[in-house]
Amino acid sequence: MNTPPHDAVPPPEGPFEPTTGAARLRPPLRRVSGRSIGVWTVRSILGGLINLVLLSVLAWAAGVLPWSWIPEWARENAWMLPTVYFVYALLRTAIVPSWRYRVHRWEVTEDVVYTRSGWIARHWQLVPVNRLQTVDHTQGWLERIFGVATLEVQTASYAGSSTIEGLDAEEARVLSEELAARAGTLRDDAT
């Protein structure tokens, strides 16, 4: 009754023999836009600044306010909190965006959306186009400045939804239209 296209086609008996370790997943072919590094960097800087201000206020308050329950050692070393965070934020801003850029990849074939994301932990995702339910193309203010966009493809399963961050804006628009149109023609029950 609910017959997805990949079910109608019998599994191809090709040259590929499923012996263990014979084959691996290759990375998706395409990188995201280089401008996405800018987005991630600015986002990291802004987030870092806000946290830094909050922590500084906290440290200042701990030093100045006459609260008796704050132990002496905490009072004296309160300045360390924002300092440590500053170093961490600096390192994060310097390293993570370019690292992300190296990891994040995507590929859209006739039938499948294939993405790789993450930075420390990695995440590979395969989403079949014929099971797509929604294709979202979003662009925040920061992304608009840098001319990139986020494409989110969703299926009936929460676990089967994928997000491509930092695509070139024009490319994302074209891609989302294409995907939506293709999903519309291929789609059956989508579950």
Partner: protein, 612 residues
């Protein structure tokens, strides 16, 4: 995308008052009726022609011209599949215009008159505590008494109004439910969208021979559902409704499929739906019975952890009630008693009490388990599975087979000692799965598997165990946090926390080993199965066509050990089932065997570009 062509220009709305879906459509349900709102206030009875023509002047099935646009058969096709609308068309006050109401091919029906009794009683029950509190606190003064009387009369009148105005009708293609005196609402549910028909009856309902029918339908949004609730109809009518609804739906789907796909290739579907018979089956035709609860199965309740804890729950409830009733005096009395009593006597009393409680645990468990699972039966009919159970509150859940994507076998360590499992269905778009998806109670594995085999199709493959490195990861996960806490506690020298953490860390060893042993995944050509967990071990099995995506997640630690978490996305149940710590290459191979068309384009040979 959405902005460009997803949402078209809205149709000019002819409604004056958009209905808030959060508001109860049934005026009786909120404890009273909906007050007339703004401009859409109900016209007086003598205004305009009758909304529903009387039986004396039958109308064509397509609806009379006075009926609003939402009454036309084509209306629900646009917009949300399940529509609800308030109408402002002039109408008769009671919506009857005299004789039996007709608004389609078939006579519209009313709820059972006995719901006049059940509804107010049920509502009164929820008001009982505030009323009693008001009476006691207010010292039975006339104002409170009057207010109570007014409330009760209001409930009765509300129930009567609900009953008078509530109508439902099963048409060829849709179910229509109309209700409301002041704010008329019509809910239209296309029959194709119906996912299940649940029949529930509490003890009170059963004493009066009525039942509540809930019709669950798929709404436009994924996972969201819209319900039609008929509270309450007679038992025979409930049974008829279920039969007719599911049958018509099956016929509609059949017709629909014949129109769209002349050749349906279904050979891949493991959970094959039964072909719908051509005629509505007779009431005595109960379809296939897969399972009836044998007597010995009630004893398995003693193995269910949730039910084992019932004595404590009961005790806590009793204590709470006692405290509420007598107030602080109870606590004072207890403290007095403890401080004045003899130490030895207290000790003996405590030991006896604890022993009694422990001995009573299984008894209570079996009793409460039996209450909820009394007379469990699983039947198949008209392309649906019907699970029915309960002694006082009897509930029967109908799951459409087309939506059943697979099944889950659940067990805990206690149940594993007796090789017992319970069975749940993995169903698309089903809410409240803890209650609704239960297909079988706890029972011996061979028997459960036999039922699965007959009702759904059994997974016959072997589960591939996960590599040894997964064991070390499971152990680390189960032991390390507690060990760290224990070490820290020793360093900071409070004794008790370190002992507790140490014991937990030791307990983590068997737990980790057991978790490792339960890991596994397999594929038998039709069904994909994934197993994990220890205290609540779950083996999820879904048909191949239900797999709608794959995702691999790998932390740096996993990368070092060549492990990966493989999650198969399923548009049903918990939406994703994870094979934890599977071997990296084997997992890719596994996915490629199940859905070659999805995975194979991205495979490279070992000598090719290695994945990073």
């Amino acid at each position: 995308m959405e902005r460009e062509n997803g949402i078209g220009p809205r149709e000019p709305s002819d409604r004056e008052e958009p209905v808030d879906p959060g508001e109860p459509a049934d005026p009786g349900e909120g404890g009273g009726w909906v007050a007339p709102g703004g401009t859409a206030a109900g016209p007086r009875p003598e205004d305009g022609p009758p909304r529903w023509p009387s039986a004396g002047e039958p109308e064509p099935a397509s609806g009379s011209p006075e009926n609003g646009a939402e009454d036309d058969t084509g209306a629900p096709r646009s917009g949300s599949p399940v529509t609800e609308s308030a109408s402002e068309a002039p109408r008769d006050w009671w919506g009857t215009g005299g004789g039996a109401p007709v608004f389609g091919a078939e006579n519209a029906r009313r709820l059972s008159p006995r719901s006049l009794v059940v509804g107010p009683i049920n509502q009164l029950r929820s008001l009982l505590v505030p009323i009693a509190a008001g009476l006691i606190v207010g010292g039975f003064n006339p104002w409170v008494l009057t207010a109570t009387g007014v409330a009760v009369v209001g409930l009765l009148v509300g129930g009567f109004v609900t009953w008078r105005t509530f109508r439902y009708e099963i048409g060829e293609e849709r179910l229509e439910i109309r209700s409301g005196l002041i704010r008329r609402s019509t809910r239209t549910i296309p029959l194709e969208r119906i996912r299940g028909v649940d029949v529930t009856s509490t003890l009170l309902h059963r004493m009066l021979g009525v039942a509540v029918v809930r019709i669950e339908a798929a709404a436009g949004s994924p996972g969201g559902g819209e319900e039609g609730k008929l509270d309450a109809v007679s038992v025979a009518e409930a049974e008829r409704l279920r039969r007719v609804l599911l049958h018509r739906k099956a016929v509609l789907l059949e017709r629909h499929r014949e129109e769209t796909e002349p050749v349906a290739g279904e050979e891949g579907s493991a959970l094959e739906p039964a072909p719908a018979p051509e005629t509505v089956p007779e009431p005595e035709d109960t379809g296939t019975t897969y399972f009836r609860m044998p007597w010995s199965w009630y004893l398995y309740g003693a193995l269910a952890l949730g039910y084992l804890l019932t004595p404590f729950a009961v005790l806590a409830t009793l204590f709470g009630m006692a405290q509420q009733a007598v107030g602080d005096r109870a606590a004072d009395f207890l403290v007095d008693w403890v401080t004045t009593s003899d130490r030895g006597f207290l000790l003996v009393f405590a030991v006896v009490f604890a022993c009694a409680l422990i001995l009573l645990m299984p008894v209570f468990a079996v009793v409460s388990y039996s209450l909820t699972h009394w007379g469990f039966s699983l039947r198949g009919r008209d392309g649906s599975l019907i699970a029915e159970r309960g002694l006082f509150t009897r509930r029967s859940v109908t799951l459409e087979r087309r939506r059943v994507r697979g099944y889950e076998l659940l067990d805990n360590p206690l149940e594993r000692t007796r090789r017992a499992v319970s069975l749940r269905a993995i169903v698309t778009g089903l809410g409240d799965t803890a209650n609704r998806a239960v297909l079988l109670p706890i029972g011996p594995r061979p028997r459960v598997e036999e039922v699965v085999d007959r009702a759904l199709g059994l997974f016959r493959g072997r589960l591939t165990p996960h590599p040894r490195a997964a064991l070390y990861r499971r152990l680390t996960r189960a032991v390390l946090p507690f060990a760290a806490v224990a070490v820290a506690a020793i360093a900071l020298e409070p004794v008790w926390p370190s002992v507790v953490a140490g014991v937990l860390a030791l307990l983590g060893v068997p737990l980790g080993v057991d978790r490792y042993r339960s890991l596994g995944h397999g594929y038998d050509g039709e069904l994909v199965s994934v197993r994990s967990g220890s205290l609540r071990r779950t083996q999820a099995t879904v048909e191949r066509s239900a797999v709608i995506g794959w995702s691999w997640t790998q932390s740096p630690f996993q990368r070092r050990s060549g492990l990966v978490d493989l999650e198969l996305a399923v548009g049903a149940g918990e939406s994703g089932y994870t094979a934890q710590d599977a071997a990296q290459e084997e997992s890719v191979d596994f996915a490629a065997r199940i859905t070659p068309e999805m995975v194979r384009p991205f495979l490279v040979r070992e000598d090719g570009e290695p994945p990073r």
